[in-house]
């Protein structure tokens, strides 16, 4: 019996156990109904959404801090903290007016100076923020509720930048907190969002608690993702960290927890059989797997070698290894952008379509002069999707006649080693796997992995002026038609340069108890509108 079967067997028996039979916390029935016990994707190890940009931090932060704008389920920015905005005819001066009555959790009013300090800190860390900062001539608080931003050139994606869900989000904090160096962690967790952070109950690695903020004023519009009225129907949310998936599955089946953000695919069939549990796709924007190569050093500094891998790589092999045989959960994608979003394109993606051409790839390798240089694959063994992808890659490269130097390590080490620009034999690397959240790949704004800015680019440091030209064209686009055209050209250029090779598009599930209602699909778990009977 392998580990997967063992986990299934263990968790499966939970369906036989009587629901709610385990001791409940010492809460009255009413209090229990107002407390939601949530199992997040990872431990909330720190709580500064600007300093640390892990998704789990962002997901917790959206409860505590609010944003000026918020994207809806069409990824369109809508007003959130702002009452309205004005933009000059030349697009250079923006004036924002805050809603009246906004308060921080310490009772202080939200003022324009808080917004200025918060945006300044955010701009130092966010890729779109950095672009705005480069254009910024002035960012000032005109009065308590009015903020003025003057630019040296128009930036059509400004509202999207302020309302996007990609990390780091432009959260608004009190000025005294927002003045913290963006590369240092904040020490106070005061926001103006719908929930307060119960710091005294925080046990990092085990539990984090959020309590309803009585003075929060939700908007009147119906909520849609980060837009609209964030009405809290529960008083308290307990994040319970359960590192072992089998334990989490058993706890959910027995009513010890209410909502599990990321059940592993192996356990989903068991959960689906349980009538007390609902299971659905978590994030409709899914994830894109990545085969990331080092463009600085042999052999992948040669585009022909990269193309050989692209020509031979079977996304189906990767997806079956990562997600399994449930084809509702994955698909192959001959492109870099998120399927189902307006900018998705397959332009230039022929290299990833159809039967894989191993012989053609070998010929291309020979043409490239590949002479058996080892490919240092740094593969994280503690992340199941990355381990699975690494094993497929090792087989693929061997099939192509390449020499594989397989470095089995952990994610922490991959994080360090991939930053090294040294040659692979001297502490550097040849390739690694990762995945990108589909929400980050819906457009070029937060898609740091597709950029081709050479030494300034993301790990692997691809250098492609053609790609950068099309990224700039997208930022300058005035309507969706122009955006689509720019992204189609961008996709083609990125495919030709082989910025990286997508290994497929896949979804993850979420699961919750049937007495919980209002759970929606989204790129992050939204707690507003969620109720518990």
């Amino acid at each position: 019996m392998d580990r997967r079967s063992f986990l299934k067997a263990f968790a499966g028996v939970g369906s036989l156990a009587a629901s709610g039979a385990f001791p409940a916390p010492a809460l009255s029935q009413g209090a229990a109904a107002k407390t939601l016990r949530f199992v997040p994707q990872a431990n909330l190890a720190n709580f500064d959404p600007i300093w640390g940009t892990q998704y789990v931090v962002r997901n917790a932060s959206q409860l505590v801090w609010d944003t000026l704008y918020g994207v809806d389920d069409q990824l369109t920015p809508q007003r959130q903290m702002v009452e309205g905005e004005e933009v000059s005819s030349d697009g250079l001066t923006w004036t924002f007016k805050l809603r009246s009555g906004l308060k921080f959790h310490d009772g202080e009013p939200v003022l324009a100076k808080d917004v200025v300090a918060s945006l300044t800190r955010w701009m130092a860390r966010d890729s779109m923020g950095l672009m705005i900062k480069a254009l910024q001539k002035e960012l000032t608080a005109v009065d308590d509720r009015t903020i003025k931003l003057m630019l040296s050139a128009p930036y059509p994606k400004l509202l999207f930048a302020l309302g996007k869900n990609n990390t780091p989000m432009a959260f608004i904090m009190p000025e005294r907190i927002a003045k913290t160096d963006p590369f240092q962690q904040i020490t106070e967790y005061i926001g103006s969002g719908p929930m307060k952070f119960a710091r005294s109950e925080w046990v990092p690695g085990a539990k984090a608690v959020f309590e309803k903020f009585a003075d929060y004023q939700p908007r009147n519009e119906p909520f849609s993702w980060l837009a609209g009225g964030k009405k809290m129907l529960i008083d308290r949310i307990e994040w319970i960290i359960l590192p072992d998936p089998a334990t989490a599955a058993a706890a959910l089946q027995n009513g010890e927890v209410d909502w599990w953000e990321t059940p592993i695919p192996d356990l989903v069939p068991v959960l689906k059989k349980n009538k007390s549990i609902q299971v659905d796709i978590a994030d409709p924007l899914g994830n894109i797997g990545s085969f990331r190569m080092n463009h600085m050093h042999p052999p992948f500094n040669n585009v022909k070698v990269r193309r050989a891998v692209q020509m031979a790589l079977s996304q189906e092999d990767y997806m079956r290894a990562v997600v399994g045989d449930d084809t509702n959960l994955w698909k192959t994608i001959p492109g870099f952008f998120t399927p189902g979003t307006p900018l998705y394109t397959e332009e230039g993606g022929d290299a990833l379509k159809g039967k894989r051409d191993i012989d053609g790839a070998k010929k291309l390798l020979a043409e490239a002069g590949y002479a058996g240089q080892p490919v240092t694959c740094i593969v994280a063994q503690d992340q199941a999707p990355l381990k699975a992808m690494g094993e497929v890659t090792a087989e693929l490269l061997k099939k192509l006649g390449m020499t594989v130097d397989f470095v089995a390590t952990d994610w922490g080490t991959v994080g360090q080693r991939r930053a090294s620009k040294s040659p692979p034999g001297q502490g550097g690397w040849g390739m690694f796997h990762t995945w990108h959240a589909g929400a980050d790949c819906a457009n070029p704004a937060s898609y740091i992995a597709i950029r081709g800015t050479g030494e300034k680019a993301w790990f692997g440091w691809p250098d492609s002026p053609e790609v950068e030209k099309e990224v700039a064209a997208w930022f300058a686009a005035k309507d969706l038609g122009e955006e689509k055209a720019a992204v189609a050209r961008l996709n083609k250029a990125a495919m030709e340069h082989v910025i990286y090779v997508p290994t497929g598009f896949y979804f993850g599930y979420q699961a919750w108890r049937s007495n919980v209602s209002g759970v929606v699909k989204g790129p992050l778990p939204f707690f507003w509108g969620v109720a518990k009977a």
Binding site: P23, P243, A246, Q416, A419
Partner: protein, 313 residues
């Protein structure tokens, strides 16, 4: 005796200093980068570098070690790179669950293992002996997490006797506290039971061959009195030694057990800190565990003198 204890406590200081140097050096040369973990997947290499500088990880070894040692001498274990909370606070938060687990496991193990070993020695060569020792071999061989899953499967999910995960503080009541610890303690205790039972058996077998045992038997003394009053006391020194050594096993096993049963103890804190490369936390925990181990050995040495009057310090 008091002078000996005093000398041993003083001797603890260089031991802890060596442990501190060793742990710090090991973590310094170990691969991994907390800044990369903090920065997240969307961060640029420049951002990662700035966070690394912010954490002081770009400073040379001696400077970092000097700072850390100076703070340790003042009783300050430092601050977690991730949570920003003092390491001491993190350890204190997690101490009760782990201590509870260890104490319950220890009581359970000794209560079961010592009579098991005595029984096996008394019935040496019979099916009772073979059965008990087969159980001991099983205890050694099956990994803690497998035992943990099996126990949860049977006693939590099927029989519904105990919760599957979590920890309730002792302040919430004795039974709620114990209820959460029974299964983890059995899972963790299996290896320990096996170890103590085997040593008890071996030690008892040797003692049971002694003349004074035969004398006691010939004088018509009851079997219970012979085994538990005369034999066990004389066989106790190696048993106490192995119980002391076993504390290290408990610490190691707690790491896995706490993960399987989601107990928010020091074991899980250790794993989280290692995975994230939270150096101050790892260093603090290792120092604490080393200190506990040294002190347990001291207690064992003192116990020798109580169990065997021939031993003098």
């Amino acid at each position: 005796m008091l002078a000996h204890i005093g000398r041993r406590i003083v001797a603890t200081i260089p031991v802890m200093a060596i442990v501190a140097l060793f742990v710090f050096s090991l973590l310094y040369i170990a691969p991994g980068d907390p800044a990369a973990v903090i920065a997240g997947e969307q961060a640029s290499p420049e951002d990662v570098e700035k966070i690394r500088r912010g954490l002081g990880l770009d400073r040379p070894f001696l400077s970092r070690f000097g700072d850390w040692s100076w703070h340790i001498l003042q009783g300050d274990l430092g601050t977690s790179m991730f949570t920003g909370l003092p390491v001491t606070q993190l350890i204190v938060q997690r101490l009760e669950p782990t201590l509870s687990l260890m104490v319950v496991t220890l009581i359970l193990a000794v209560t079961i293992a010592v009579p098991m070993g005595v029984m096996a020695a008394w019935k040496a060569g019979t099916w009772v002996d073979r059965g008990l020792m087969a159980f001991a071999v099983l205890g050694f061989s099956v990994p803690v997490f497998v035992v943990g899953y099996l126990l949860a499967y049977v006693f939590a999910l099927e029989l519904d006797w105990f919760p599957v995960q979590g920890y309730t503080p002792l302040s919430a009541g004795f039974w709620p506290w114990l209820e959460n610890l029974v299964l983890p303690a059995i899972a963790l205790g299996c290896v320990y039971i096996a170890l103590i039972a085997r040593i008890t058996r071996a030690s008892m077998l040797e003692v049971l061959q002694q003349d004074y045992i035969r004398t006691a038997q010939s004088k018509g003394m009851g079997q219970g009195g012979i085994l538990f009053v005369h034999a066990l006391k004389n066989a106790a020194v190696p048993i106490v030694t192995v119980i002391g050594i076993g504390v290290a096993l408990l610490i190691g096993g707690a790491v896995v057990t706490e993960s399987v049963f989601a107990i928010p103890g020091l074991g899980r804190l250790t794993i989280d800190a290692i995975v994230r490369r939270d150096y101050p936390v790892i260093q603090g925990i290792v120092l604490l565990f080393s200190l506990v181990y040294v002190l347990v050995n001291l207690v064992v040495d003192v116990l020798y003198t109580l169990l065997d009057p021939r031993i003098r310090y």
